[in-house]
Every structure is written in structure tokens, then in C-alpha cells.
Symmetry: C2
Subunit: 525 residues, 2 copies
């Protein structure tokens, strides 16, 4: 049994708050420190924290904090099937989709690892039948495009991951189908995607755990109407990813159904059938398997008690220090890889929906800050956009850089003596040093204060295995921070009120709600 106590009751947290001010980054960073602060991750990646405001003493206190909050112990309990989602009384089992971490998890006669593997095997069989042409569209055409219909966790993760590996898969000769995504209930979204498709060769995946997600059902209706309007049989063009108890399960309206369950939260579901179906169809099952293997490698590191061997734990601890001791309110995720263009949007959900909480696991108000704002865009684009504020604004925002040595596919060109890849990576190295060390200038407007901390995740090339490790790193970091803050990172009660009030509007509301609805053209008919 672990004990669940608030961050501010930890002795080491008080010690941390009383610790000497953070070291001057400019004085701290030198080649030795850059070399020493390298920690191996899964998937061939490394985590470098040389530009974080933590010296040896600080790391030592953070390690004690990890022990006091029993962070690794709780991670092990979670992996072993403890009911970590206390609010909803659910286990948290997304790790099992990529491998066991603490033995089998069996409840009421169900072996969950075997269940998730079984669903993955079903996905594989289906995918092979589609790729081989055994399963065809209702007019006998082969499927060439797969369209995921889902929102939130059923959209952001799979979409970001597809974009991340689309071109790499193409270079490997593995790109089997093009993938598209429909999420927003704004009908302009679905129409935009549908207008660009050859419907007769398109396969749709409807993803909703509950089978009742308003946006997703509305988009399904829209898609079915369009298919029928083109003389196609919707039931031959659509599969479902849902829970076994949902209205969508085992319905003749779908070619096939693949299952997850309540123990895999939406934002943690990319490695379940939610990501598995679309990614395997588009990029091949082999690619998805390598992606899972990379995630599992990274998960195994999360069992290490020593933060210097557990990059997600260390990243989490540094983040807590920056948030709760140094008072920094946000985190910017800055991948120097265009293919990771939507990865920050996925992390935005993962982090902010998990840890944007104001009560602890027992539902008591807490007196310290929890999850930060998360934002980000790929570099070098961001340098020409919001970096001005990051360098010279009045708030300090910790930065999480991501970079790779090699291109995913492209032939490169030489321009003014260097390739585009060299320019990209030179800029990344330059930014880390510019942010941390700054530069004096007698003109205050050209003065860079420095002291703006960052970490760097880097690897040789962004492939499926590296991407799996990258995703798992952030998932595990978020979970570790939830343990430090003593909050439940697995529910999302904050989204309920809006749903309730939207229903009221559609049924006919009064008061201010009706006034706003009227401004938006509702109820004017």
C-alpha cells in the first residue's frame, strides 16, 4: 500500500523551497555538463537536462521527493492493476497495450493483457485482409484511404502520430493507405475531408469508447448520408473502435469492431486499438508494432527508482521544481521536426487534461499549483513567431526541445555552405544556449537576460520506435507529476458541465444561456 499525501506536506518539498536560488545557467553550462547530463531513453533517444536549473544538490532533494511521494512505487502499482483512477473507480492499463510491466493484470477472470493483445491480433487480421484486397468496398474497389472519425483522445494522438511517420513510412516502402481525420462537430470539417476523397475506396473508423460521443455520432451520420448518397453501402465502409458494452459494439452497421475498455483513458489510448487500427491500416502493422516496442522500452525505464536512470521521472521532477518552487506557469514543447507539427497539440491534451486539477485524489482542495499550460509549434517556425516573448518577455517559460540528426526522407540541398538539416540543427543548438546563457548589451532592448531553462530529447532519426518512446516518455512524465501533486491524472470532470449546458441549450434554455444561444443564431427560427 502506498500512502497518498499532498506535495506541500513532503519534507523534501519544504527543503526544495528553502534551497539556494537556482544556479546561474550561464555559469553552469559547459561541455562537461552537457556530456554528464545525458540520460538514455527508449527507442535510441536521449534526454539531456544540462540546461535545467538544477545542480547536484537540487537533484538529490528531488530524488528524495520522488521517494517521499513514492512516485516509482505508485507507477509500479498502477502498472500492476491498482485502482489509480479513484474518481471513476477504474484501473489505468494503457501500458499493457505495449507489454507487461508488473506481471499480468487479472480481474474477475479477465486477463487484460491478453484481452488487449487479442484485440490487436484482430486488428492485424483485419488490416491484412484490407491490404490484400480480401476485404473490398461495396462496389468492389480496394480501400486506399482510411478516415478516422473521433475527437479528443480518439483524434489528436493518432493524427499527430500518423503525421509523424507518414513520410518515414513512405521512405521505408511501408505506406499502405493515406489517412485522414474528421473530428470537429463543425460540419465544415467533415465536408472538407469528404470533398477530397474518392468515397468508393475509403474506409472509415468510428472511434468512441462510450459509443455516445455527440460530435462523433453527428459526423457518423454525415458520413453515412454521404456514402448512401453516392450509392455506397455504409456498413461495408465503416468499422468501429469502442468498448464491448457500447451501442456500437457488434452491430451489423460495421464491417468489424475492435474493443478497448474503461481502463484506457482517451488521452492515453494511442497505443490501443484507437491508434492501432488507423496507424496499422495506413502505415502497416509492422510499423505499429515497432512503435509499441519503442513505447515499451521507455515504459521499462519508468520502473527505475533512480531519477538519473528514469528520464520521465527526472523530467517530471524538474517540471515540479520549475512549477512549484520557481513559479513558472507554462511549458513550451518545441520539436525541430516538421513531421511533429501536431505532436504539441496532443501533449497539450495529454498534460492539461490529466493534470489541470484543483483537488487531490481524495477530492480536497490543494494549496499549490498543478499542471502547467502547454503550447508549442515546430522549430524553426516558432523562432519567427512567438520566441520573442520566450527570450525577452516578462515570464519565464521552461522549454522542451526535441531534435534529430537525420532527415526522415528528403534529399537535402546546400545553400550558402550548409544543408537545410545543418541549418535546422544549428538553430536548435543555438536556441538552447541563447535561452540559457543570454547575452549582455548596453542597449537594454538588445539585452538577453538568459536563465530560461530547457531540456533536449534527441535521437538519430524519427522512426517508429523513437516515436513510441517519445510518446511514452510524455505519458509517463504526466503520470509521475500527478503522483507528485497527489492528484488523479485519469479523470476529467471538468468537461462535464459544458456537456450538460449544451444539452440544455438544445432542449431550450432560459436566462443568460438563452441570450448567448440567440446571439449565435439558435432559437431564432
Amino acid at each position: 500500500m502506498a500512502s497518498y499525501t499532498n506535495l506541500d506536506s513532503a519534507k523534501s518539498f519544504k527543503e526544495l523551497a528553502g534551497h539556494a536560488p537556482p544556479p546561474d545557467l550561464a555559469a553552469l553550462i559547459d561541455p562537461d555538463r552537457v556530456a554528464i547530463c545525458e540520460i538514455p531513453m527508449g527507442g535510441g533517444l536521449s534526454f539531456n537536462y544540462a540546461a535545467s536549473p538544477v545542480d547536484g544538490d537540487c537533484i538529490a532533494i528531488l530524488s528524495r521527493l520522488a521517494e517521499e511521494q513514492e512516485m516509482v512505487e505508485k507507477f509500479r502499482l498502477l502498472a500492476g492493476g491498482e485502482m489509480m483512477n479513484t474518481g471513476e473507480k477504474r484501473l489505468v492499463l494503457h501500458h499493457l497495450c505495449r507489454g507487461e510491466l508488473a506481471g499480468p493484470v487479472v480481474r474477475d477472470g479477465r486477463d487484460f493483457g491478453a484481452f488487449y493483445s487479442g484485440e490487436l491480433a484482430k486488428v492485424r487480421t483485419f488490416v491484412e485482409s484490407v491490404h490484400s484486397g480480401k476485404i473490398l468496398g461495396s462496389t468492389g474497389r480496394r480501400f486506399e484511404t482510411v478516415v478516422q472519425i473521433g475527437i479528443g483522445g480518439s483524434d489528436l494522438g493518432p493524427r499527430a502520430l500518423y503525421l509523424a511517420l507518414e513520410r518515414w513510412s513512405k521512405a521505408q516502402g511501408r505506406l499502405r493507405m493515406q489517412a485522414r481525420f474528421i473530428s470537429n462537430v463543425d460540419p465544415d470539417d467533415a465536408d472538407n475531408v469528404l470533398a477530397s476523397l474518392d468515397l468508393a475506396s475509403s474506409l472509415f473508423i468510428l472511434v468512441s469508447k462510450s459509443g455516445t460521443t455527440q460530435e462523433t455520432l453527428a459526423n457518423e451520420t454525415l458520413v453515412r448520408a454521404r456514402l448512401s448518397g453516392h450509392g455506397l453501402d455504409p456498413s461495408k465502409h465503416m468499422v468501429a473502435v469502442t468498448s464491448e458494452t457500447s451501442p456500437l459494439a457488434k452491430s451489423p452497421r460495421y464491417l468489424a469492431s475492435f474493443f478497448m475498455d474503461d481502463y484506457i483513458g482517451g488521452r492515453y489510448s494511442s497505443t490501443s486499438a484507437v491508434g492501432g487500427a488507423v496507424l496499422s491500416l495506413a502505415l502497416g502493422f509492422e510499423t505499429f508494432s515497432e512503435f509499441l516496442a519503442g513505447a515499451h522500452e521507455e515504459d521499462l525505464l519508468a520502473l527505475q527508482r533512480d531519477p538519473l536512470r528514469n528520464p520521465a521521472l527526472l523530467d517530471a521532477l524538474i517540471g515540479v521544481y520549475e512549477r512549484n518552487v520557481l513559479g513558472m506557469g507554462a511549458t513550451a514543447v518545441l520539436p525541430y521536426a516538421e513531421s511533429l507539427s501536431r505532436f504539441p497539440a496532443h501533449l497539450q491534451q495529454l498534460d492539461m487534461e490529466s493534470n489541470g486539477k484543483r483537488v487531490n485524489r481524495r477530492g480536497e482542495a490543494i494549496a499549490y499549483k498543478t499542471g502547467p499550460l502547454v503550447l508549442g509549434e515546430p522549430g524553426t517556425n516558432g523562432q519567427h513567431s512567438f520566441y520573442q516573448l520566450l527570450h525577452q518577455g516578462t515570464d519565464i517559460i521552461p522549454l522542451q526541445f526535441i531534435g534529430f540528426c537525420e532527415n526522415q526522407i528528403s534529399p537535402d540541398v546546400l545553400c550558402e555552405g550548409s544543408t537545410s538539416r545543418e541549418k535546422l540543427n544549428a538553430n536548435l543548438a543555438a536556441q538552447i544556449v541563447a535561452f540559457s546563457c543570454g547575452k549582455g548589451d548596453t542597449n537594454a532592448n538588445k539585452h538577453f537576460p538568459g536563465g530560461r531553462p530547457s531540456t533536449l530529447i534527441h535521437g538519430q532519426k524519427l522512426d517508429a520506435r523513437a516515436l513510441g518512446a517519445l510518446l511514452a516518455h510524455y505519458e509517463n512524465k504526466v503520470v509521475f507529476q500527478g503522483f507528485a501533486w497527489n492528484i488523479n491524472s485519469f479523470d476529467q470532470e471538468g468537461v462535464q458541465l459544458g456537456k450538460l449546458l449544451a444539452k440544455k441549450v438544445l432542449e431550450g434554455a432560459d436566462g443568460a444561456l438563452a441570450s448567448y444561444a440567440t446571439l449565435l443564431g439558435l432559437g431564432r427560427k
Copy 2:
């Protein structure tokens, strides 16, 4: 002559800080307030601030603050040609691209309004020649796709605006060419776009004011190599948008050149030839003209001294109150319109690059917060992502909602008794009320504290005129906030150090810079 003084020296600012705590939003909001707090904008839009934490007294003090900081007076001076960009000693004339606000601006014999109009007329003539087939590709093919090569202000604004109007233009029968964008120096970006193109029918627009932007020149090299490799003559497939003094001006390497100048900052350049060339080619000159007209309508409102008749000024003042008195550190822009998917990314640059400053106009350090973090994604998608933190996180983030009564194009469907449009707008109305009013619950985990302020910009339909007004609103809001904070919103010295250090890396750096470069595969050859 206006006088330039810091925010914290204003008498009304001290008064504001001493003002009674903000009213309880739940008690404040009722149908009367929603009706009263409507302010007309340009382009048929309205600004509603009913869910902002400001009562009549607070608005009165904010109005005095606007007077004390001479915010409208300074806007008028800016429009009339005062050197507002003091750091770089430049005028700020982007408003002139859409019409005069304070008479002609003439310096050293040049009438800038006439100059910008002249360039727009050149764009129009060129666009008409392309659309009519008078100008063809080097193999005699008509141009069907236009590709903008630019970064930062030459990319984010035009890209967001194109996406905003692409489908509306299609519905109007105005969509003339498809537009694509290449920005990142990561060669995977350009290769990804080029792989999807028919090069013989593609026209490229190279956009760089200085003509020396590293990323843009590298991408130009890459594109020219690809064109030549396909037996095409690059000089017949490329135009330039640049300044008259740049190395790109009037070069035989381009079919045509269109000019802007140093008085139009990159992030404010969407209404100049930077946006004009690509948007007119893709959406037609008529669409771009309507867009400019909408922006001009909105600009005219920015000359009003009364904040209740000047929505950008009021929005700016409420933002300053939230930032500097209530201590809120970020702003979320939440358009309930899928076509505005990249509009928040443009505002992120516009706002954070303009006002992420720590010194005043005279280069003196200031003691108060300036520009906030800006982030955002379209609704309802965001509701299934980061809204959890917005509702129940430990920080309060002011929200800027945007919504429209009608779809841009799509046929809609009925699902469970309502259309997708009705669901979308019901959710928007619901969120405003949920954030501001909250909901009590004995279970603290299900308790919504409320008190989370928002504003709403709304209109009948997102068309070209409405989009122009929307863009100008935010541009003018940012400028007004810069006047309140007494900072220069028009330079970006914070981006220089990174450029300098990247150059060092490419030339062979030492120390920590070299260590990071080595981690990223540089210098290992």
C-alpha cells in the same frame, strides 16, 4: 506630441489596482447584461464582453486609463506616420494597405498609401494574367497551384487566412487556385509539399522582406533544384514579394516582383502584398478586396475615443486589467469554426512577438507584466482536450471565443434532433456560461468554481469581410496594449541572438554550443 509613460505611473492604473475585487461573474451575467455588452465591429461582427469581470465602475476607470495613456491619440499618430517603431526608427504603416485613417502619409516625396496601392494594382494585373492564362508555366501549362515560401509573418497569417476562406470561396465559385505553404527549414517540410504537386502547373511565391531570410532562401534553393530536375525553368515559376532594396528585387530570376517596405512589420503584413499575392491568386482579387474592406471598417472604429465604441480598445483594456491587476498570465483563443484552425497560431505570433517585451519604448526595464502567452485550438475539439485545465486548473486563463451563426458551405445533417451547426453553437454558448458561472457540487471533484472570464466575437457567417475585421481587431488590440504598457510592439530584438549563435555553429563553434551541436550530429563528419 503624445507623452510616453509607463503603465504603473498612471493614476488610473493605481486606482484600478485599488478597485474593489472583480464582481462575481455568476451574479453579474443575466440576459440584460448580455444584451447591453454588445459592441458593433467591422465586417458585420460584434464584440460581447458580458462575461468579462468588469462592471460599470471598472469600465470607467479603464476609460480614464485609455485617456491617460493617450491610447487612441497614439493610434492616430501611428496611422498618420509618426515613427512608432522607435528601436528600429521606422514608421508603422500596415493600416495604409487597407485605407487612410489619418490622411496621406508622405515622407521624402513618397506617398506611402499610393505606393502600397500601386503594388496592389501590380498584384491585380499579374493575378488576372495568371487566371486568364496569359502567363503560363515554362511548358505552357496553366498555373493551378500557388505555393508560398516564407516563414513567420510571411507564412502564418497568409496560411491561416487562406484556410479560413478556402471553402467559403469555393462555395462562392471564387476558388481559382489551390494554395500550399512551405516554411520550415526542415527539408521534410518542402519535400512533403513538393511531392504532392504537379510542378509544371505550380507557381511559387518567395516572400522575404530583407531577401536574406535563411530558411526561405534554403527552401528556394530546394524548390529551384526540384523544378530544374523536372526540366522546368524556375524563373518562369517563381515571383518575389520583397522590399525594393533587397537582393531579390527586380531580378531576372523571378517572373515578377511585388514590394513592401520596412514600415510593414512581418506579423502585420497579411494585408500587404505578402498576403495579397497568394490570397488573390488562390481566392480571387475580389475576395482579397473584400477582406481589405472589412479590415478598414474595423480600423476606423479604432479611432473612436470611447472604448464602448472601439472594440479593439475595450478588448485591450480588459486584457490589461486581467493581466496586470488580476494577475492572469495567458489568453486562449477559441474559434468555434474549423476553418479558423490556424488563426490562433497567427495570433500567437502577432501578440507574443509584438508584446513579449521587458523594456519600455526608451529601453528601460519595466516592473509590470507585458504580453501574455497565447494559445488556442478550434472548438469543440478543444473541449475534448485542454478545457479540463481551463475549467478546473489552478490558474485562471481568460478566453476569447469566436463563433458564427451559419456554416461556410456544408450541407448539414440532423442527428438526435439537432444539426451539427446547432450542436456547435450550443456548445459555445454552454462553455461561456460554464466558465463564468460554474456550478456547485458537494463532491469537490465535480465542483466548478466559475469566475473564468471570456469575451465573444460573433457574426452571421465567416466571409472575407468578416475575416478582415477579425484580423484587424486583433492587430489593433495588440497595438493598444503596447501603448498601455509603453512598449514598442513593432520590433523583435529577441530573435537576434539565436540567429547569431546559429551562424556561429555553422562556422564552427566551441564550448557548450559545440557540445549541443555534436549531440545533434553536426561536426561529426
